[in-house]
Amino acid sequence: MSGTSLFLQIAQAVVLVLFAPIAAGVVSTAKARLQNRRGAGVLQPWRNLIKLFGKQVVLAENASWIFRFAPYVVFTATIMAASCVPPLLVHTPLSLTADVIALVALLALARFFLALAGMDIGTAFGGMGASREMTFSALAEPAMLMSVFVLSIGAQSTNLTTMISHTLNTPIVLQPSLAFALVAMLMVAVAENGRIPVDNPTTHLELTMIHEAMILEYSGRHLALMEWAAMIKLTLFATLIIDLFLPWGISIDASLAGVAMGLVAWLLKLIGFLLGLSLVETYLAKLRLFEVPEFLSTAFVIAFLGLLTHYMLEIGT
């Protein structure tokens, strides 16, 4: 592995992490425009983060070390997950070790600490948010794995780099199983990132919150890390979906030209994805809480159908 290639591999993870707040800004600006508002601009999340990093941390009296520790664990685990998912270059620093199962596990680790932190202070909202988050993630994770497995069977691997290379190397044929997997993956992505119709990231109503309820007690740099991690997670999921289902344009070799090409392609696809998300978020109201499990079970069933379709229609040929 040459020095340039290693540098580019690390650089792409940094690009993803730094671009994540802008991606969140794109969604909120697009939503504002769709509501006939001007919006605060795509850089607003960055401004918020910088402001929060400069602020003092206010801790509850009965906060334990878990509460102080959690933002760093959540942020690190999310960055680790992000560096498994290549936006520009197929090979990543962790591409040899990290596969999709590890990715799901890293996200689960982040979630575990998030839920612990939510319960640590002992307020009703934190506990409520944690209980909701864990209930839904128990349903979301299998659905996510199931839809990834649809692709893994073809590539004979759960390693992302191998899976992307496989997709790039096979001729483009219409595979119905991929359509199922894509739908399931989109549904999971919405739920995992706490977007409408599952959760509302902009609400001020404590009783309706899921993700926000857990970080309600955070302030200053702790809050900044938590929010940044959430933004990275959104970009991560968008990139994962792009990688798995629309990888064309991603660079295979570590050349500067190839990476520049990859960057343009990634940005275009990502912004397309974010605009689609804003459309959905504008169009839909939030689901009733008791319907979220149904929503996620549907995602699982669709992913499972994708798996069956793959066996029935695609393996034999």
Binding site: I196, E206, T282, A285, L289
Partner: protein, 536 residues
């Protein structure tokens, strides 16, 4: 006397052997005040309940200047007001012993009486006999034991001492191990008024929700004492800022009844226009906010925009975005010219049309409909028992509307269509608001078209000392009732106002039983009761 005396209730009570004395220093005659004996207080309430009257309000007052002559000692009086759809309002009062005031509770007849009785106990130290709920209401734990703010001799000028022996409010609790409590407020994440909600929940299902209000107690009743009518109405408009017009109107009307003044027709038409505009603006804002609580932000933004347009025109024509201080005793303070009226009418029509377009969008959207339909149901029997007012009552099929029942000017010349809901859920409460917007827009058009051309106010002259007046006005939340009594020099001696929220808050507690916890904000917004109007 312009008004025909209303003897219906006195006759019905007489049939039951309850002797009543008609008070001649109370106006208007069609909403009479009858004095009864304290022993017959509960019997009279039972009789009112049997006659299908609804409880309007329950309050107390120190004796006025007339009363002192009669009794030659400082006494207290308890008042209660009832209303019948066909026979209007009737007030009953009974003298209480000043040293050791006691009053039998009527909460077993009228659920809504309980909180009003607790308010009386907090403010006057009246002992309510047989009260189902003896906890304090407005009096929070840190108040000194002997603080009775509405009794003579209470020092309202210096800050109250803070009691160190606070104790805790005795919330409804559950001993079951699966039930947990969620305390919410009084400080909330959004920009709303302070109030505390205590939930008992199993999983995500609400078993019971209890309200703890009083955090915005400002001492309005006490602050009103000693003001003249001109200053008083400024304070009255600020009882609950979103119903500034209706609260000012009810004050003005009660004072005008007491002083036996009839404001010019043009004034009451302009008051009607202002009140209907206020109704439209608030309904628009609330519909948007309800949709926003279900994360359907598009409606919220559109409704905000429409509301803002109304507020800007209000600022331009009436000098205040929320129409504060537009109504004065004797008339109105702003007289719009023909051009302004034409703009007002044009904008009302335009906004009503746009609301209709947004309404079809809302009604055809399964995602939002799915949230509002069937959530937070209040059955008609419950609505009647509580006496729910305004849109909350109408959604459940209980529709008292003072614009029809009381038909005060200008509504005596207009036909008001009241929407009649049945399901009593969030969707119906929203539907009622849409219907009311359309009807109010029509009323505004008709009022502007038939606006009489004359002076828009009379000179205010205060009534004789000791004279009281009672009025009921249909604000956007529902009926607001007010009773005012004047003392020496035309200064207000006692002002009591009952915002519809006092009663409708009970409806919310009932509606959210067995509703999932995250659906509470949606329900809360669909009632949108005033904290300030309740806490006074």
């Amino acid at each position: 006397m312009r008004h025909k005396a209303n003897t219906w209730f006195a006759e019905r009570l007489g049939d039951q052997g309850i002797r009543t004395t008609y008070l001649s220093d109370h106006h208007p005659a069609h909403m009479p005040c009858l004095e009864i004996m304290r022993l017959e207080w509960k019997h009279a309430a039972e009789e009112a309940r049997r006659l299908d009257m609804r409880l309007v309000a329950l309050w107390a007052a120190e004796a006025g200047c007339h009363d002192q002559d009669q009794h030659a000692r400082q006494g207290l009086y308890a008042y209660m007001a009832f209303a019948h759809p066909d026979h209007r309002h009737a007030l009953l009062r009974t003298p209480l012993d000043a040293k050791n005031p006691q009053l039998p509770s009527i909460a077993s007849e009228y659920i809504a009486a309980s909180r009003m009785e607790r308010h009386m106990a907090d403010m006057f130290g009246i002992r309510i006999e047989g009260a189902p709920d003896a906890r304090p209401w407005i009096r929070h734990e840190h108040w000194p034991q002997d603080a009775l703010p509405l009794r003579k001799g209470f020092d309202a000028q210096s800050p109250m001492a803070v009691s160190s022996d606070c104790g805790d409010y005795d919330y409804v609790r559950s001993t079951s191990s699966g039930v947990y409590e969620i305390p919410v407020g009084p400080v909330h994440a959004g920009i709303i008024e302070p109030g505390h909600f205590r939930f008992l929940a199993v999983g995500e299902q609400i078993l019971n929700m209890e309200e703890r209000l009083g955090y915005v107690h400002k001492g309005i009743e006490r602050a009103m004492q000693g003001r003249d009518a001109m200053e008083g109405i400024r304070l009255a408009a600020r009882v609950s800022g979103d119903s500034a017009v209706a609260h000012a109107w009810v004050f003005a009307q009660a004072a005008e009844f007491a002083a036996d003044i009839e404001p010019p027709k043009r004034a009451s038409f302009i008051r009607g226009i202002l009140c209907e505009r206020e109704r439209i603006a608030n309904h628009i804002g609330d519909i948007g906010a309800i949709c926003n609580d279900a994360a359907f932000a598009f409606m919220h933004m559109q409704m905000q925009r429409l509301r803002e347009e109304m507020a800007r025109l209000h600022q331009e024509i009436f000098g205040h975005r929320l129409l504060f201080d537009t109504i004065v005793p004797g008339g109105v303070s702003v007289d719009p010219d023909a051009k302004q009226l034409a703009r007002l009418k044009w904008q009302t029509t335009a906004i009503a049309e746009e609301v209709e377009r947004l309404r079809s969008l809302y009604a055809d959207h399964p995602s939002i409909q799915e949230r509002v339909i069937g959530s937070g149901v209040v059955a008609i029997d419950d609505a009647r028992d509580i006496g729910l007012l305004g849109y909350a009552g109408r959604a459940s099929g209980h529709y008292p509307d003072e614009r029809i029942e009381e038909a005060y000017s200008p509504y005596d010349e207009l036909e008001v269509n009241v929407p009649e809901g049945r399901n009593g859920d969030v969707a119906t409460r929203v539907w009622v608001r849409f219907e009311e917007i359309a009807d109010s827009a029509r009323l505004i058009g008709e009022m502007i078209d038939s606006l009489p051309d004359e002076s828009c106010s009379l000179e205010w002259r205060p009534p004789e000392p000791g004279v009281s007046g009672f009025a009921a006005i249909e604000g956007w939340r529902g009926e607001i009732a007010a009773w005012v009594r004047f003392g020496e020099d035309g200064l207000i001696d006692r002002y009591f106002v009952r915002d519809p929220s006092v009663i409708n808050w009970l409806g919310l507690e009932l509606a959210v039983r067995e509703v999932p916890v995250p659906d509470f904000p949606l329900n809360n917004k669909s009632f949108n009761c005033s904290y300030s109007g309740n806490d006074l």
